[in-house]
Symmetry: C3
Subunit: 158 residues, 3 copies
Amino acid sequence: MTDEAALRRGIEDLFAAYVECIDEGRLEEWPDFFVEECRYRITSRADHEAGLPHGVVYAASRGMLLDRITALRQANLLEPHHYRHIVGPIRIRSVANGVAEVAANFFAARIMHDGGTSLFATGRTLDRIAVARAPYRFIERLVILDSHKIDTLLVIPL
Amino acid sequence: MTDEAALRRGIEDLFAAYVECIDEGRLEEWPDFFVEECRYRITSRADHEAGLPHGVVYAASRGMLLDRITALRQANLLEPHHYRHIVGPIRIRSVANGVAEVAANFFAARIMHDGGTSLFATGRTLDRIAVARAPYRFIERLVILDSHKIDTLLVIPL
Amino acid sequence: MTDEAALRRGIEDLFAAYVECIDEGRLEEWPDFFVEECRYRITSRADHEAGLPHGVVYAASRGMLLDRITALRQANLLEPHHYRHIVGPIRIRSVANGVAEVAANFFAARIMHDGGTSLFATGRTLDRIAVARAPYRFIERLVILDSHKIDTLLVIPL
């Protein structure tokens, strides 16, 4: 493989493993996909286009991601459900200094305990990924939801 | 292409051809994607996680797959409908002795005769694929539906 | 990369850029994905299978595509909404004389201004793409919608 092909494969594998981790409910492993000094944010398209810096969900370190999962597991408040993601083809916007900027579309279905399935969220991700060495890790993940109707069940990471 | 890249391309092509065969309604060709001594099973996530061996649909040879399509065509009971699949990026879990183990997410929409469209099923597939020579063929295909609400219309293969 | 791998990558990049252009609302750039002497058609599966040559939407040159976007922007009639596409793996049917024939499945979600999200359209595309030199461009794009229930809001290109 050329370097470019290997880079693309590495990023695609990161995305596939990330989605599988969430969809299969292994949420404790989710923070491992990020570097220690990371940023994770979920926002809406409207807020993003308006330049609003905050989001529905915000974390500024891997520790905060871990806290989020711990709280989620302890609270145990939410009605049992899980997600199923489909990620579209990735677009590599740039690669410089060991960091790749990548965009991708996604659909997330939510399956409730009673079996009810719905198209829960659509949107795109804008990521900065550390690609200097394996395994690739997210430095920054920005999830831009198409809809501003953020469901109160938005607890499981995207 | 490296051997690894060629293997991945071959598996991706198998998935794309498989989905096209079903979505375009060429169901008589569907069993040809399997080796003679195959296993095909559709189950639910809950049953799969509970270790239950049986499924909503089960076939243990290509002949049983053929029977299934024959019955479907003869019965002609079902309301006309078809599917449209989107398969996410594949994950190659292992390759050994000419057999690749592959996981993938999928969404299947169902389009009824009146045009009504819904997100019919989401889930993932766990496959064992014969990759020693072209064309690649399914040895075992396990379709794990996220929802246990198995629609009575679950007749067309997934 | 081999020539075949480079060809596939070029087509995948074209699809990803095309979808991003539409989903991000940069509709003025949409005609640039087509050669000057192009054909663009949206039809339904039923009409396509019946061999009917016309479609819900038809354009026979890049100029007509431009007109379509101009009209859309000026009319400003439609309720604000946008799309989010997921395109499945592409199938390259043939390559000859600098033209590739390509099939792909797609799902399009529509997100209304109030945040309501639905699976708006599913179907497949059959394309003829000029691949003799970069950038690749659509010579002919045929969008075959699974449902004949063509929504009156079908204004944004697919």
